[in-house]
Symmetry: D3
Subunit: 122 residues, 6 copies
C-alpha cells in the first residue's frame, strides 16, 4: 500500500477505496501482489516501469481510467509531460492513431487537473 500510495497517489487510492465494498480481495491483491511483489522489485526503476505501463495501457484499449492513474504515476516518478506525450506519439506507429488519440486525451485530462497545459514542444 505504501508503494502504491507513493507512486499512484490519490488516483490509485480512489480505485482501491471504490473496490472496498465489492471486491476487497482484488484491492488487496493489487496492493500486495501488483505493488508489493512486482512493482517494488529493484531490477527496473519506477520511471522505466511507467514507460512500459503507458505502452501496455495504450495498446490494450478501453483502459482510459487506468491510463489516468498511470499518467499521474508517471508524473510522480519523474517523467515530464513532454516525455509522456512523446511516448504516446510513438505508440501511434505500433497501435495506430485511434488508441494513441484515446491515450493522449487521457493524458490531457490529467495534465489539465495538474495545471500542466499546454505541453510545450509536444
Amino acid at each position: 500500500m505504501e508503494v502504491l500510495a507513493r507512486i499512484d497517489g490519490e488516483a490509485g487510492s480512489r480505485v482501491v477505496s471504490a473496490l472496498a465494498d465489492v471486491s476487497p480481495e482484488l484491492a488487496h491483491q493489487i496492493a500486495a501482489w501488483g505493488f508489493g511483489e512486482i512493482y517494488s522489485r529493484p531490477a527496473l526503476p519506477p520511471r522505466d516501469r511507467q514507460l512500459v505501463t503507458l505502452g501496455m495501457l495504450t495498446a490494450l484499449g478501453g483502459c482510459e481510467p487506468q491510463l489516468e492513474v498511470h499518467v499521474n504515476a508517471a508524473l510522480n516518478v519523474g517523467l515530464t509531460p513532454e516525455e509522456i506525450v512523446e511516448a504516446l506519439l510513438h505508440s501511434a506507429a505500433y497501435c495506430g492513431f485511434p488508441k494513441a488519440i484515446n491515450a493522449t486525451f487521457a493524458a490531457k485530462k490529467v495534465f489539465a487537473e495538474r495545471g500542466l497545459l499546454p505541453v510545450h514542444g509536444g
Copy 2:
C-alpha cells in the same frame, strides 16, 4: 426472444429496443441466432455459459455495457455475487488488473442497482 428475456432480463430488452430504429436485423440475429440457436442448446447449462461469457467480456475490453447485461444475466441464472466477484478476481491472472478492475466496477454498478452491496468475503 423468450430465452433472451428470461436470462438477460430488462437490461437485455433495453439493448434490443435501442437497436430497433438503427439495425432491427442485428437485434433479430442476437435473439434468433445468439439466443435461439446457440444459448438454448442443452449441452451447456446457462450458469456455465455465463461463466464463459464473463471471462470473454472481461478479456475483450471496452465491453462494459455488455458486462452489465451479463452480470445481471449471471445473477438471473444462479451465480451469486460472491462467485461473480471471484470469477473477476480470477480474471486478473489472465487479463491483468486493468481489465479485471473495469469488469469489477461494471459488476458493482449492477450489484448496487439490485441492492446486493456490500459483497461479503469478496
Copy 3:
C-alpha cells in the same frame, strides 16, 4: 489537412483542435501522414478505405469516438446508412455481438445527429 477536412468533416477537425494544446505533433502526423501520405493514395478510393476502417475500429474495441468520426466520414464519401449498418451486422460474425452492438450504437448517434433515423431495411 484538406483531405482530412473533406473526408472527416467537422468531427475530424474537432479531434485535431482538441489535440492542439497537448500533442500538436500527433495532430500534425494524423493530418500529414495519415491523410496526406496514406489516405490520399489513389490505389484505393475513399469509400473502400472507409469500409476497411469501419471493420478495424469495430474489431479494435474501445474506439467509439473514432467510430463516430468515421461513420461521419463514411457518409461523406458515399456510403449509405443502410450499407454502414449492414457492414456492422456483418462484423458480428467476425468480432462477436458485443463489439457489433457498440459500433452500431456509435453509428446510431451519428445518424441521429444528421437526421438519418430510422434506417430502413437495416
Copy 4:
C-alpha cells in the same frame, strides 16, 4: 455451403472439414449462419464485405489463418492484389505497423500460392 464454397474456395472448405471431428456444429453454424444468413444478404456486395473483413481480421490480431482464407476470398470476389495490399497499408494508420505487417505476410503467402507475386505498385 454453396456461398461459402464459391467465396472462400478450397481454403474455407479445408477449415470446415478440419472441424468435422471436433465441432461439426461450429462448422454448421459458420456455413448456415455466417454465410447463409449474413454473408448472402444483398444489402452489401461480397467485395465490400471482404474489405470490412480484411480490416477486422487485421485489427483482431492472431487471426493469420483466417486472413489467408479471406485474402483468397477477396481475390475470388474481385479485389486485386494491389487493392488488398493497399487496404493493409491503410490499416497501419489504424492498427499500427505490427498488425499491418502480419496481415501483409499472410497476403504474401496467398499471393505466392496463386502466382501473383510480385505485386506491382504495392
Copy 5:
C-alpha cells in the same frame, strides 16, 4: 506448484520448466501467486474457473499455447470434451468465428493427444 501440477498437469509443468533459464521469477509468480494465491481460493471451484479461463483465452486471441494447457486443465478438473466444445461454440457469439475456430483447433490438438476424438454431438 502442487495445485499447478494437479490442474495443469504435464503441459503446465513444461511451461514452468521452459521459463527456468530466462525468467524463473515469472515461473515462480505463476505458481505462487496465480495458483497459490488465486486459483486455490475456495470461493469458486476449479471447474468453474476453467470455464472462465477458456472464455478469456479465446477472447484474448494469440494465446493458443495457453489454450492447450487449459483445455488439458479443463479435462483434468472434470469438464467433458462435449462441454469444452460447446463453450467454444458459445464463444462464437461473443468473440466471432475466427477466435472460436482458433480455440476449437487448439482443443482438437489436445483431444487428439488424449485419444478423445471424435467428439460426439459436438
Copy 6:
C-alpha cells in the same frame, strides 16, 4: 533506413526485405515514417522508446515476430536481458500471465540466438 538498421539490426532488415515483393510501400513507410519521422525524434531516447514498445507488443498479442525484432532492438540500445525480463514480468500485472509468457518466450529465443542465456536474477 539508417536509424532502422542501427536500432533493429539484421532482424529489422529481414522484415523490410521480405516486404519488397508484396508491399514495398509498407516497407518504405516503416522506414520513412516509423523510423525517420517518429523514432528519431529527440524528445525520447531509444532506450525509453524500446520500453514503451516492449509494453505495447506484449499487450497487443499475436505480435511475437515483432517482439523478436524489438527484443533485439532493446539489446542494441542498451537494455540488459535482466531489464527486459523484468519489464515482461511487470507486464503480467497489466496484461495477464498468458501474454507475459508469450513475450518472455520470444525474448528467450532472441537471448538464445545471442548467447545470453541463462538470464541471471531474472
